[in-house]
């Protein structure tokens, strides 16, 4: 599904910052992967490149068989819209739109009619247990609810992969658990999911943990039993 070959990224500035120093990574369809590392390790940059939100300087990135390189903003927008579902730490919902409108927005950019996309959005909200909150605005929802709205928005276009950037970073431990359960559930349904986190409690609920340090992959750890991680998921999240 995702194949990264020797990816380099340098942030230009007064002091050029070489963030990614040759990343080679292969993520197969249906895998549930965590990218783990301390802040500044380059894990967020990696996720942004995966999400075609940022460009890279060197190397090759294949997403579902499509080379992602030097895309125009319009093409990049279309790929993001159809192939990728984003889940952000800070939810990134639009504050003056209610839950249904937020969830339906990606379909608006596909040119789906109003009635149809709102109906679909309601279905997805229902699946995430938010049917009664469909017409509430983000300001009227709790953190967990907001993240579930964001997940519904990520799913509505039936993307190839879900990219989650610290999805539990702004949530308490109980809600974090719920959100991770949703992601695991999606994984069981066959979705490819990449989670970026610095919390080992989150990382060890996935199947494969990619440790990043100073812009290179330190090691890749197979986690054969995600439910029995060293920290004990039920007891300690953070």
């Amino acid at each position: 599904m995702i194949r990264l070959t020797n990816i380099h990224k340098t942030y230009q500035g007064a002091q050029p910052l070489h963030v990614l120093k040759g990343i080679n990574l292969h993520i197969k369809k249906g895998e549930f992967v965590a990218v783990m590392g301390a802040s500044g390790s380059g894990k967020s940059t990696l996720l942004n490149i995966l999400g075609i939100l940022d460009s890279y300087d060197e190397g090759e990135y294949m997403l579902a068989g499509t080379p992602i390189r030097n895309l125009s903003e319009t093409r990049a927008a279309d790929y993001r819209n159809r192939m990728i579902g984003f889940i952000f730490q800070s939810f990134n919902l639009i504050s003056f739109k209610n839950a249904v409108e937020n969830v339906a927005l990606p379909l608006f950019y596909q040119g789906v009619g109003r009635r149809k996309r709102n109906q679909l959005a309601l279905e997805y909200l229902d699946r995430l247990g938010l049917k009664d909150w469909a017409h509430h605005y983000p300001g009227e929802l709790s953190g967990g609810q907001k993240q579930r709205v964001a997940i519904a928005r990520a799913l509505i276009t039936q993307p190839q992969i879900i990219l989650a950037d610290e999805p539990t970073g702004a949530l308490d431990s109980q809600t974090s658990l719920e959100v991770m359960e949703i992601l695991k559930d999606l994984h069981r349904q066959g979705l490819t999911i990449v989670v970026v986190t610095h919390e080992s409690g989150v990382a060890y609920q996935t199947e494969k943990i990619v440790h990043i340090k100073d812009g290179v992959i330190e090691r890749i750890e197979e986690n054969l039993n995600p439910d029995a991680n060293p920290f004990g998921i039920k007891t300690q999240m953070k």
């Binding site: 939100l53 940022d54 903003e73 927008a77 279309d78 993001r80 990134n92 739109k97 950019y109 596909q110």
Partner: protein, 417 residues
């Protein structure tokens, strides 16, 4: 479409005060454009009404005296116009001349009615004369086609002469007047504009020609011109006319003294030019005001775009193309501008109507005649349409640059913003 409007509505509702302040600038710009245009039209219209006392697009041609020898004839010869000139003008200059009016003067006559008598000049004219010289009838009618055809002895006299010749009052129309023993019937009385001293008596051209045995001769050839819009075009026309006339009367084609040309059309052109300048000046004033309004809108949009950087980042992350963001911002700008611009335009139109109903009808007595200084100070539909087009274009322009600014940043930077 509905989605776009909803987006715009949402954006406007989040910054009401700012939108209203901006809208006010645009509205006042449009208001001023309309009011200035209306007032300008009022002044221009009043020109036209007041100047209606004179015929402004007439050219009068009289025979002159040659200043150059030609084909063996010495200079200093008098040129006498005749009916060949009328035919020539109609034939050769039909594009530039809409009416040709020959006239004859018979001076040195004495007109009498009972004991009243005075010296008089009879002027033989045709019906178009009245319109071309803005002759205003007080009662009766002017010389008509039947008078002309039947060579009737009809006469049209001024109101001053009517008072002098019929001192006992009563309507002079239908009464007889005696011109050196020849009786004429008064068919109409015109208002003397006191612009000339000769109290002219108008009679049919054909009558004067026959009774006073003038043959084919005419004294003056008047014409109403058209399609001559500049000084140079007028000069060209006069040159051509002189050349054509020289063929009939055998004088040097470049002898401008052989014909005496009295050009009222020239002053008319001057006035039209003044009107155009006035018109343009008012447009420029209004547009400048509008420009300040539009710059205001642009500024507001710029701030709005900066504030919404993150929102645009989110939209782009989930698949909004840059163009759809640009379109959204521009649509918002156009809607704000159009809404308030239209409001300003409506207020302007109402104000013009108000001016029309108050000062629009006031007259000012300047002694010789009464003048209206403000006539119909309103704008026409085309001005409103132009203004509408301008608002929409202005709105789109005001939104364009902030919109381009909005998509210049990378989506990831926008998300962080």
């Amino acid at each position: 479409m509905l989605d776009t409007l909803q987006e715009i509505y949402g954006a406007i509702m989040r910054s009401k005060m700012r939108t209203i302040a901006t809208g006010f600038a645009v509205a006042s710009g449009l208001f001023l454009i309309i009011v200035l245009q209306g007032a300008g039209n009022g002044v221009i219209n009043s020109f036209e009404v007041n100047m209606g006392n004179f015929a402004f697009d007439a050219i009068h041609i009289f025979g002159g005296r040659t200043t150059k020898p030609h084909e063996g004839i010495k200079e200093g010869r008098f040129i006498q116009l005749d009916t060949r000139d009328v035919e020539m003008t109609q034939r050769t200059f039909s594009h530039y001349v809409k009416d040709v009016m020959p006239s004859l003067n018979q001076s040195g006559l004495t007109v009498s009615h009972g004991a009243q008598h005075q010296s008089a000049t009879l002027m033989g004219v045709n019906p178009a004369w009245a319109q071309a010289n803005a002759v205003k009838m007080v009662s009766g009618r002017f010389i008509n086609e039947i008078d002309l055809r039947q060579k009737r002895k009809s006469v049209v006299i001024s109101d001053v002469n009517a008072r002098d010749l019929f001192p006992h009052g009563g309507n002079a129309v239908g009464e007889m007047l005696d011109f050196n023993g020849i009786p004429y019937t008064v068919v109409g009385i015109y208002k003397d504009n006191q612009m000339s001293n000769e109290r002219t008596f108008y009679a049919p051209f054909t009558t004067v020609s026959v009774i006073y045995n003038r043959g084919e001769f005419i004294n003056r050839l008047s014409m109403l011109t058209r399609h001559i819009e500049s000084d140079s075009a007028m000069n060209r026309f006069m040159d051509e006319y002189t050349r054509a006339s020289s063929q009939i009367h055998s004088f040097a084609p470049d002898d401008r003294q052989a014909l005496w040309i009295w050009n009222q059309a020239e002053s008319n052109m001057q006035m039209k030019k003044t009107q155009r300048i006035l018109h343009t000046a008012f447009w420029i004033l209004g547009l400048l005001t509008l420009v300040s309004g539009v710059v205001g809108v642009s500024n507001i949009m710029l701030i709005s775009v900066k504030e919404r950087t993150r929102e645009f980042g989110i939209r782009r992350a989930i698949g909004a193309r840059p163009w759809s963001i640009v379109r959204m911002v521009m649509a918002e700008s156009v809607v704000i501008t159009a809404l308030f611009g239209y409001l300003g335009m409506l207020l302007g139109i109402f104000f013009c109507e108000y001016m029309d109903s108050t000062v629009g009808n006031q007259t000012m007595d300047i002694g010789v005649f009464q003048a209206q200084y403000f006539v119909n100070p309103t704008v026409d539909l085309s001005t409103c349409l132009t203004a509408t087009v301008i608002i929409v274009i202005a709105g789109a322009l005001a939104g364009l640059f902030p919109a381009l600014d909005a998509v210049k940043v990378k989506p990831i930077d926008a998300l962080r913003g």
